[in-house]
Symmetry: C2
Subunit: 480 residues, 2 copies
């Protein structure tokens, strides 16, 4: 590692407010985008992170009533944080809080820390629990997101000579856009194909065979689906010539059996990545070329794996829920955002030489009852809200998640009431159609509705008992 | 017009190879992005275009075997072009030629004029006639496209304070991407929402009401569909607060009755724009704030409205088919690309002061039998190819285009054969499913299949007779 001491000291473009040199890029043979920052002793990195956390907190304190109110109530402020242990006393932010502050201060909430006129990109969540969360991103943040995704893709081995085929939906979801602008920033060729429109998968097969991309981004489910469609068309996915498949949105890519299956089908290496929609770069957890678990890129998003009760860090080797703090975002900074995901972390370094902590099995569960289906986060409570408000609802229902031919399927079994039973087939059909339409609007994914006569389903006191997740993916995730 | 003579002379960033200053932008009150270039005497502009046409031809001559071969056979070369009348002798390029040269020299054809490694963005046509055309775009061209779309949006009155909601599909189609990067370059806020996924329109209504965009981009059909979905949800589209609706992909926006209907529904102004997927910026034909027909932005894409037989320009006031020459693209320059569209042009200036020619009624027809449905170009021959190859095909079919609740609908009526009739319902169903799947793959839009018994349809010798376009949109377009 030939790095000048001076470059070490300034940690390669480490500054606040963050701004990366948009023309800078390592030579192809260089494994690290920022050689020192990625391999530095963790204790030194943590010292820099502590300073940065205070910068970010000051930024929020001065600009965001949301944070100032929250922190004042908890008796913390940027000035009371002298160690990373002190930082663990900063109260976590929940997704529900973001939604409710946005409802009160539409559209971006009172945690927007730039002038609203500076917001140049609007994205958002799918609004699975009724009100979606809007992301307002400034021009500077958009460039930061591009630069950080480029670094992560570089660590996976993506180079300017690669062609990256993006087979995920371009809309609210930041995943597709992050990979796009990251790959553009890296200098790779991008093919933003998208997904989700009927018939598009067959066309994806045609184009992959024609353009022969070297890297591919989607959800693991979609890659499995694409391989089945290809086989149906008489095409072996190995013909695409892919070398890397990059995934997020589901736990599949870190589950050995799923990962192995995809690697065999495509003859390519699988890389897992992710974090949360509210956090961008959402690839702040991502495998490197060493492929031995996701790295926790602490100098982008400071991540604490926490005890779900105390919300303080657990030691390396233990299990907990990630809590995220963005270190470079200015428009809607997240300070201790609670993920409710479940993981186990280990101390670095990784075999690739990076000194970040490692998540050997990726993200493998939830500490609440949310589930992910075809890349969308779904809360059973959102389904409950819709179903229970249906005229003709008979008082009980079940949510069943299964897998049909590689694609997740969501089935909602609903009892209709006696009046509907008496009114006959037309009324039952009307109830089914209404349930389908309303659930699709709220969830962003289609659900199959199975109507059953009054009294069919056993009554339950517990919401979670209404959910049956029958996918091998999740069974294996729980069992691994 | 206070423009320095020197700025006039160099026509504001007019250079070859083209490169625009990415930080430059007029002040909000300024109606023109490039005051002189847009209002200069047409004869001076044409002199500059002639020089540029020769630059572009030299670029192609030296780099593209496709063009050198084609031009050599026709006895023309960059050096033989001394006037714009000379240029009319340059043979036109057809879409079929592009497809066949791409088949021979995959994936970008031997008209790619940059090193293949310089291609950083891949897009393409939907491949309605079997093999799609791939667009390979260099980084420099991508920036040119952004800058030129920004200029056109500026002329419509879009400003950095606007929020542009993009409600068209992000995939191969350049329309969505052109508006996106143009609006980004202009400094506006963008909300790249996309379209095409089941249930997405209801979510578009929710988000429009929440974010209150000021400008909206889609096809006219989709805007009509969105308004119906909004009404179904009890939302008046006027609540969105839109000021401008920008359309392309269909003739609707230039047809007075459709335009008036959309303007009344949204309480906003409609702007028509377009050209061809192979030409980017595809908004080189576009209305300005004067809204008196589409301007022909000749300094971006030199457009000749030609007699379809002689392929030489018709005089202003006459009808013909546009032939396009890109003046700034280097990766896949188009020199005299034949559109097969139908329009009438008039001499400028427009009421906005721009001295470009004007298309008072926009693009209102085709000189071949192609039709456009939900933004996709469809050739009847592509449908014929699929349908005639179906096992069980009874020897005749009809293509009916109609409009159901604001969305175009494509119905293909197919006779099945005697063997299928004898085999019964299951065989007929299998034929229907196969026809649906294969047509969707080839066309990119779904078709309804209506199977009819052998001998039902009258036999025809002429392909075009198989097509019945029953949409008011097109009836009115023909009648206006």
């Amino acid at each position: 590692m030939r790095v000048a001491p001076r470059a070490q000291r300034r940690m390669e473009q480490w500054r606040w407010p963050s701004r990366y040199d948009d023309d800078d890029r390592p030579t192809d043979g260089q494994p690290y985008w920022f050689p020192y920052r990625e391999t530095m002793p963790p204790v030194e990195r943590e010292a820099a992170i502590l300073e940065r956390v205070r910068d970010v907190m000051r930024w929020c304190w001065e600009r965001a009533p949301f944070y100032r109110r929250k922190w004042s109530e908890a008796g913390v402020s940027p000035e009371t944080i002298r160690t990373l242990e002190d930082f663990e006393r900063v109260p976590v932010v929940t997704k529900e809080e973001l939604r409710s502050t946005q409802a009160e201060h539409p559209p971006f909430g009172d945690y927007l820390c730039v002038d609203e006129a500076e917001v140049v990109h609007v994205h958002g969540t799918s609004g699975t629990t009724g009100r979606p969360t809007a992301f307002g991103i400034s021009r500077d943040d958009w460039r930061v997101i591009a630069n950080e995704h480029a670094r992560v893709l570089w660590a996976m081995g993506v180079r300017p000579s690669d062609t990256v085929f993006i087979a995920s939906f371009f809309s609210l979801y930041m995943g597709s856009w992050g990979v796009l602008i990251g790959a553009e920033r890296l200098g790779a060729r991008v093919f933003p194909f998208g997904a989700g429109v009927p018939g598009q998968t067959r066309r994806a097969v045609m184009w992959c065979r024609e353009i022969r991309p070297t890297a591919f981004y989607s959800t693991p489910s979609y890659a499995l689906h694409l391989s089945e469609v290809a086989e149906d068309m008489g095409v072996d996915p190995r013909e695409f010539g892919l070398r890397r498949l990059i995934f997020s949105g589901e736990p599949g890519a870190s589950i050995p059996s799923i990962r192995g299956k995809i690697e065999r089908l495509y003859g390519a290496e699988v890389f897992d990545s992710g974090s949360m929609a509210e956090i961008s770069p959402w690839m702040n957890l991502a495998e490197s070329a060493a492929r031995a678990g996701m790295l926790v890129w602490q100098d982008m998003v400071y991540t604490e794996v926490c005890d779900p009760r105390t919300l303080r860090r657990v030691p390396y080797g233990a299990e907990g829920t990630p809590v995220y703090t963005t270190l470079h975002r200015r428009s809607q900074p997240m300070v201790r955002l609670l993920s409710n995901d479940l993981t186990r972390w280990e101390a670095g370094p990784s075999a690739c030489g990076r000194t970040y902590p490692i998540l050997p099995r990726g993200i493998y569960g939830r500490i609440d009852d949310m589930f992910t289906i075809r890349g969308e986060n779904v809360y059973p409570s959102a389904i409950d809200d819709v179903v229970m408000a249906l005229p003709g609802y008979g008082g009980e229902h079940r949510i069943v998640i299964s897998r049909q031919e590689a694609m997740d399927e969501l089935v909602v079994r609903i009892e209709y009431d006696d009046a509907t039973r008496v009114a006959g087939e037309a009324s039952i059909d009307a109830l089914r159609r209404r349930a389908e339409t309303e659930l699709r609007t709220v969830l962003g994914v289609g659900a199959k509705i199975a109507l059953v006569p009054p009294g069919t389903l056993e009554r339950t006191e517990f919401k979670a008992r209404r959910v049956v997740d029958d996918r091998d993916l999740w069974r294996e995730a729980r069992a691994t």
